[in-house]
Symmetry: C2
Subunit: 135 residues, 2 copies
DNA sequence: TTTTTAGTTTGTAATGATTACAAATATATA
DNA sequence: TATATATTTGTAATCATTACAAACTAAAAA
């Protein structure tokens, strides 16, 4: 996705494409590593030394409310952010620490849902060893 | 599970069954509501006004390390605790706020795991409407 | 039983992520 | 250009959790 397309994506969702919001969104799109707010801040402040931590939180909230970014609660210590808003799960490697997406079909979520319940959202987290870290 | 059985469970796992740890474990077993540390504290301090918040955290950590209690990261704002250590998922009702367990088969987790990965743990969270809150 | 030792609890202080807030700045509209 | 609105910024506050050291308890040794 080009910078122009990202700006268009924000406009479409009613989010004014300020340079700061674009920087946050661009970083999330270009680095699908599911960073924490602080990791995003460290990255964007490199290019703009005046960037405020609060602006990162504000931007993440705006992007989330617009449905452009997803918030992950993998560990309860800090939140992680993901610009991939399609249905997918997250695998956390206990060895190298990486967090990778994996595909998830709507039918799989449906088959997990107990009868009588209506699932509107999901968080599917697996942890273990990624292919590069197999013993 | 009786109080005696709970004490025995701690001993088996090498956790000294102090009154404080038993109070925490007993509350978790008798109230499968997936409480936060603070909810546990509020409950146990009722019976022992000298109970310290730190002791709740210490006890929860000891019970967790012994494999008697599970830590949940449903929302990233606070951790929740569960004395049910068998394989299961969690459903969070957006209307009434309840968190309920639902069954999960090892084969279901296996079928989610992408090839090349080894899953050692999982957190399967669904959110939506529970049976009592259907529209 | 007394002494010693290790483990546990407690209260307070520190930490760290996140949010609240108000002033400063930028953008859009009239 | 003037005016209203939205956004950014820095600082201070909040809140869950952890660190720490003193007080306490219980188990082991003498």
């Amino acid at each position: 996705m080009t910078a122009k397309e990202m700006a268009a994506a924000l406009c479409e969702r009613g989010v004014r494409p300020t340079p700061q919001r674009l920087a946050v969104y661009e970083f999330l799109c270009m680095h699908p590593i599911h960073p924490s707010a602080d990791t995003v801040y460290e990255a964007v402040v490199e290019h703009n030394p005046h960037f405020s931590r609060t602006t990162v939180y504000n931007s993440l909230r705006a992007l989330m409310q617009a449905g452009l970014v997803q918030e992950l609660s993998m560990d309860a210590d800090e939140k992680h952010y993901d610009a991939n808003t399609s249905l997918h799960g997250h695998f956390h490697c206990r060895h190298c620490g990486s967090i990778t997406d994996f595909p998830l079909e709507p039918t799989m979520v449906q088959s997990l849902t107990p009868t009588g319940y209506t699932a509107l959202g999901q968080g599917i987290y697996l942890s273990g060893l990624c292919p590069a870290c197999q013993p």
